[in-house]
């Protein structure tokens, strides 16, 4: 029974307590770059979830085989492998999304979340907890990108998922789609999460 609870805990922590961009301040680059629309944000989140899950599984399975000295190099190769797969998959099946995300898909390779989870969790834990950890973190990350996307798309275009919600009376705030707006929205969301959890987010980029 305790096992199940543990698994649930590993899953749950990524959703709020350690939600990657807002609490751990990890994966900031895609959080800012591809959230000018909800679709892009979610697509990016799912691509990251895929890489996170597959790399966590692989790292967890190989954890007893890979010698400590070369583990980072090995993980980086594994991550780059799955990122390339994800990138080719998107380019082959969803060309418009692949185009919109551009170089930010390959940049998942250096997304701190992935290497961070491999290093901090998967290499020390068996398969099941590692899967739950990846799912929780990945879903938490996807949710965060979706929230950013909703705010920026709503104010920037007056729509959500390309469905116009705000009428003609609303003059879109172009700034929301621009870099400046991305930083400011992110900053305010971090403040909001700080306020709600009464704790301060800290950069733990290694």
């Amino acid at each position: 029974m305790a096992d199940k609870q543990n698994l649930w805990h590993e899953f749950k922590k990524g959703l709020w307590q350690d939600i990657p961009p807002f609490r751990l301040v990890l994966g900031t680059c895609p959080t800012l770059a591809v959230t000018n629309s909800v679709i892009n944000g979610v697509a990016m989140g799912l691509a990251t979830l895929f890489v996170l899950l597959t790399s966590n599984i692989t790292v967890s399975l190989l954890r007893k085989i890979v010698p400590g000295q070369v583990r980072i190099a090995a993980y980086v190769v594994i991550i780059a492998l799955y990122v390339t797969v994800a990138d080719m998959f998107l380019a082959a099946m969803f060309p418009p999304i692949s185009k919109a995300l551009g170089p930010y898909v390959p940049l998942i390779v250096v997304n701190c979340i992935i290497l961070g989870r491999a290093e901090a969790f998967a290499q020390k834990n068996p398969l099941m907890p590692s899967i739950m950890d990846a799912l929780g973190m990945g879903i938490g990350f996807t949710m965060s990108l979706a929230v950013m996307g909703v705010i920026r798309e709503l104010f920037g275009f007056g729509s959500i998922m390309d469905i116009k919600l705000l009428g003609d009376w609303f003059e879109p705030w172009i700034v929301m789609i621009l870099p400046g707006g991305a930083f400011i929205v992110f900053g305010f969301l971090v403040a909001l999460v700080n306020y709600l959890s009464r704790k301060k987010a800290e950069t733990i980029c290694h």
Binding site: A73, T84, L107, V109, G180, G187, A191, A201
Partner: protein
């Protein structure tokens, strides 16, 4: 002339941190002191210039020639990691003073997405060898500039009465947003 344009574009108009959001991690993490920010910026600039110099031939003479484009990301990240390792070893031996200043930042640079981003953009934009190196250098200069500005502001902020919930990462991001608004003034500075 084109080289100057590439430099200005990479450092000011399309500043990696403020328009492409690359290198945000060190931008948030190491910008609390001017001295640290400067050292981090210089180390990154150095690695970026080298990265451009190394990944360009790898891409052109290995990946393209042998028709294995799918190895691009793997090859780039390994090249960057190896490069950083070599630079670290070299500096440790040749100049302990520089090593003390930059050493702790070097390992961080491997996972700085700006460095991999640089290699990817370089390929996307079809730069030739010299252009790539200038692009790498300009990107590093722009990164250093943004780091310096931010570190100065953050040192000043130590005395400011920022609301508790906004302290730390939050206010830093919002200041970055303001800097991005100011950098919009450079837009359009270069046209074909």
């Amino acid at each position: 002339m084109k080289l100057i344009l590439i430099f200005i574009s990479a450092s000011l108009i399309n500043n990696f941190v403020l328009t492409y959001f690359l290198g945000i991690c060190p931008f948030l993490g190491v910008s609390n002191k001017t001295e640290n920010a400067l050292n981090m910026g210089l180390a990154t600039t150095f690695v970026m210039t080298l990265t451009a110099a190394v990944t360009w031939p790898i891409y052109t003479y290995i990946l393209v020639k042998f028709n294995v484009p799918f190895l691009e990301y793997v090859a780039f990240i390994i090249a960057i990691a190896a490069l950083v390792q070599l630079v670290e070893m070299y500096i440790r031996k040749s100049s302990p003073a520089i090593y003390r200043a930059m050493g702790i930042y070097l390992p961080l640079i491997t996972t700085n997405c700006a460095v991999l981003g640089l290699a990817l953009f370089m390929v996307l934009r079809d730069y030739n060898y010299i252009e790539s190196i200038i692009f790498g250098f300009g990107t590093g200069a722009g990164f250093t500039l943004a780091m310096l500005m931010m570190s100065g502001i953050r040192e000043e902020l130590e005395f400011a009465d920022v609301p508790p919930m906004f302290q730390g990462v939050s206010i830093t991001l919002i200041i970055a947003g303001m800097m991005a608004l100011a950098f919009m003034g450079f837009a359009g500075l270069i046209r074909g």
